[in-house]
Each structure stands twice: as C-alpha cells, then as structure tokens.
Symmetry: C2
Subunit: 302 residues, 2 copies
C-alpha cells in the first residue's frame, strides 16, 4: 500500500458537529505527514486512531484559522506525551513567528525540536525530497498567501524482464546496469535498458489543493496525479460567492480534475449552507466521473 | 434560577475523547459569560446546545493553550455567523496582542467590536459591575500569571416584613425608605430598616479557581460562595508533581472549600493519568462533604 489518506476534517471555516475543520493525515511510502491542522485536529487524530507521534512534518496551506489553529494544541500534546523526534512545519511567512510567540507567552518549553520551513514561491517548487518521495508546493490563489501540495512516490529502480535474461544471456553486472537504466555496451552489441526491463508503472501521487479559486496552471502542475483533493466550498448557484471569497465550485474542481487527467477526485471544504453533499457530486460528475465527496474519518488508498 | 453553570470541558492540558480542555458557560442573573476557552470550545458549545452569540464576555484565566486557544475559532465563527454585538475579553497581559496579531495575519475583519480588558492585580479586584452582578479577579499562583474569578449576584432591594407594616403603621414613603435600607426618622421615633425588613438571603455566587497551587488567601476572598470550582489536577499520591507544576490536589481543593465555608465544591482539570475520578472524590470528601467531580456537559444550578 504506497498511499493511505485519512480525512480528519472536511468542513470549511465554521465547524459543526460531525464535520470538523480542515486536516488530513497522509501515509505515502511509510512517510507520515499531517496536511493542515484546524482547531480540534488532535482530537480527530485520536478519534480516527492515528498515531500522531509518528508524524514527521506538518504542511500548512495558509493562515486562516480553520487550517492551522490546531497546531498549538497538537504540538503541546506531542511534547507533554514525551516526543523527542524533531517535527518539521512547512507553511507561509508568519507561521513560525506566531507559533513561537505563543509558546513563549505560555512559557511552554517543548521536549523536541520544532523546525520551520517557510514557503515562498510563485511556481511549482520542490520543497522536500528523500530516497522515496518528493513533495512540491503549489502556489494557489486565495484571499491570502496559500499553497497546495503534491506528494509523489519516487520510482524504484527498473524491474528486469526475466525472459530477457535468457534471451540476451545477461550477466549479473549487466542486469544491475539495466536496473539502473544504463545502456549495456558489449563488444559487438548495444542493449538499451528499456529492451530488457519492464515498462514503468505510474508513480503513486497525491495533490492537495485548498483553499483556492480555480487556477489555469494547476492541471499542468498535477498532471496524471492518482488522487486529487480539490476544495469545492460552493456549487455553481453560489458562483458569485466563490469568486468573491477566493473559493471554487464543484464544477470548477471537476474541470481541473478533467484537464489534469487525474485518476480520482475528492471534494471537500463544503460551506455549511449546504445540508447534503449530493449537490456537489451531481454538479461535478457530468464533468469528471470518478468523484467522491469526503466525510470526516474517510480513508482512501492508492 | 439565578445561576446556571455548564461544564464545556473538564480535562487538563491533553484533551482526550469525552473530556475536553477547560471551558465553562455561566448564566448568572441572565448575564452570560464564557470562562476560559480551550481548543474546541466552539464545538462543545454546539454539543451542549449553548447559544454562543448571547455571550457578552469571555474571561481567560491564563495563557496556557488548554485555557484560551479556542478563542480564535469561536470569535471567527461568531463573526462569520453575523454577530454585531460587542464582545469583551478579560485576560492577562499578552492576550490582546496575540489575538489581534493572529487575526491580522489571517486578514480577518470581524463583524463586531472586540474589547479587551487586561487584568493586572495582586489582590482580589472588582473588574466588572452592572445593576445585577459583580465580578472580581482573584490572582492565583500558577507557573505563569493566572486569575480566578468570583461572580456575585447583587442584592435586590430589601424585602419588607408585612407584619411590621401594621405594627409600625408604615406609610408608603416609609416602606420605600426601608426597602432601600434607609433609617425611618419620625418626630419621636427612629425605626431602623432591619426592624421592618426580612433578613437578607445569601447572594448567589460562583468562584472559579484554576490553574493554581493552593492559596492561603483564597478562602477569605471567596468566603461563603454558593458554588466553588477548584482545580484538582492530581491526588495526594502525586503531590510532588502538583507542587512542581503549580497545581492542586483533591485534598488541597477540599481544604480550601472547607476554610471558605462554601456550600458546594466542584472538582475538575483532572490529569489524564487517572482513569477514574472516584479517587479524587474519595480523597476530598472526608475533608469537605458536598463535593462533585465534574464531567463535560454537566449542568449545575444555584
């Protein structure tokens, strides 16, 4: 299972019972991240049985309260429960200052190191990379500075096609060369890696885009993602509100998903003015078939 | 019903499912206050069906996250739901700065006026008064600056003893004088107000004291309160932890209640290390009989 996504909160600015403010837990290739952290996230993590001490980094999209106010309580609890492992927090300018100031006022001394990475980019930018994944920040368009995130599983080495070992009489050294994608050069023969290896599978990837008005560049940035979460605060009947407040409609999100040719679209961040989420699905599905309106506690696998 | 207290959160620093961080809703003589406002308080207000737009002021004891982090979300929601009435917030130095700074960063413009009253006192101090109640701040002793609060119903005018009207042949003017507590001066006779009025009932009062180590002056400050909420983070077996962290044990709280001769003691702010609250009651009751360990959602009347 390369990717498991747990929806911790799927509502917009005003939380209601049963639909908390925004937060998601992502496990991709055994790397564990929290994406946004609205008020009450630490309780949602408990409710949905996520071991929160294993989170290595938190990604904050923007400084509206429903996306980051849970950080203080979560980080305090991590400390009170004895965490020692460093925690990284990615977010826009201002986040580090406000978090450190608040802990200073409360005279809270954490049991672990808090490392901030301040995001500041005007185009898709690589912000994290290790042996198994890459994470990109995507500058969104909201009322204040805001980022989406694209998580991509890194390709392992190529897989050798076993039939070809016999056919080409490959030595062990040559097999390793091919796995690394290198050309095998023999005295009278050149063998390209793709002649003896299997075609690459599509890498596992997840794009998280909230809060934002629809962005023309976004489909190119997230092309072919296996899973896309895109906000749909409104439906088309409130398109004027969406435009005025820097949000998207279900139709906007579906159009992005279609243009980006993603495999699956998740909709969330619903305004509390809608009693049922059916309206969002009915609007999105004629544009993009594989769409789901998320609920708190939903889990998705890729 | 002069006083109704709703426990919104009864836990200490680390919230768990079923026991949220500190917050209480108090209705005293139809004045409505929120006392402390830990993370998630807006959802607890919804859960326990409190109409939060009617709150006229919030009293924050201190700047530890479990007592004030819910302010940002609650105030934002009040604004998004169209509040126009001014809201007062009483709390220690630093609270106004952090709240205003956070709203500024998020570019949140509230639909109503937020008025801060910064507390700073070394002794019991009157901080609010209107026609029907008085509120005092009580400087507590915790790791950082911290205040308790005493809410007192103001006495109505005195009640006339009807038998005395006949006995003293009181005129209407004289009755009104006596009700106001004034002495009635006749040509050959002086009648004191207490001669013709009924003895005063004990005024309705509520003392809220958390977080604090036991304070020698506290019983004098809250003498005879009808209801006392006092923190009991620990029991005596963790008295060393209580001392080290600036908290009280159940025995400490019961001793305060006894010395203050309050009518009823509520215990809360329990450390999550205790599985059951029975331990607290068993420790407190031999010292002070009328004691209750509170749960989220409990309602108390005076």
């Amino acid at each position: 299972m390369p990717l498991k996504l747990t929806i911790l909160g799927s509502g917009s600015a005003v939380p209601v019972l049963g639909r908390g403010v925004t937060a998601q837990f992502l496990n991709i290739n055994e790397r564990r991240f929290l994406i946004d952290c609205g008020e009450g996230t630490q309780l949602q993590l408990r409710r949905f049985k996520v071991k929160f001490q294993r989170i290595q980094a938190i990604f904050i999209s923007h400084l509206h309260g429903d996306h980051f106010l849970g950080i203080f309580g979560l980080v305090s609890s991590m400390s009170l429960l004895g965490r020692t492992k460093k925690l990284q927090i990615y977010g826009p300018e201002g986040l580090e200052e406000i978090v450190r100031h608040q802990f200073k006022l409360a005279q809270v001394y954490l049991s672990f190191e808090l490392e901030f990475v301040t995001l500041s980019c005007k185009d898709k930018t690589l912000v994290f990379e290790d042996a198994s994944i890459q994470i990109f920040a995507l500058p969104l368009k909201h009322r204040i500075e805001c980022y989406g995130f694209l998580f991509i599983e890194k390709q392992d080495e190529l897989k050798i096609d076993k039939d070809k070992i016999q056919e080409y009489q490959l030595s062990l050294v040559e097999i390793l060369q091919a796995k690394r994608g290198e050309t095998i050069q023999r005295e009278n023969e050149t063998i390209l890696a793709e002649q003896v290896t299997l075609p690459l599978e599509e890498p596992c990837s997840y794009a998280y885009c909230t809060d934002t008005r629809p962005i023309a560049k976004l489909p190119a940035w997230i092309k072919g993602a296996r899973l896309l979460y895109h906000e749909a605060t409104f439906t088309q009947k409130h398109n004027d509100r969406a435009k005025a407040t820097g949000h998207s409609t279900a139709a906007d999100a579906a159009t992005i998903a279609k243009e980006a040719q993603v495999a699956r679209l998740l909709l969330g961040h619903f305004s509390t003015r809608y009693k049922y989420t059916d309206e969002f699905k009915i609007e999105a599905q004629p544009i993009f078939e594989n769409v789901t309106c998320v609920e708190d506690g939903d889990v998705f696998y890729v």
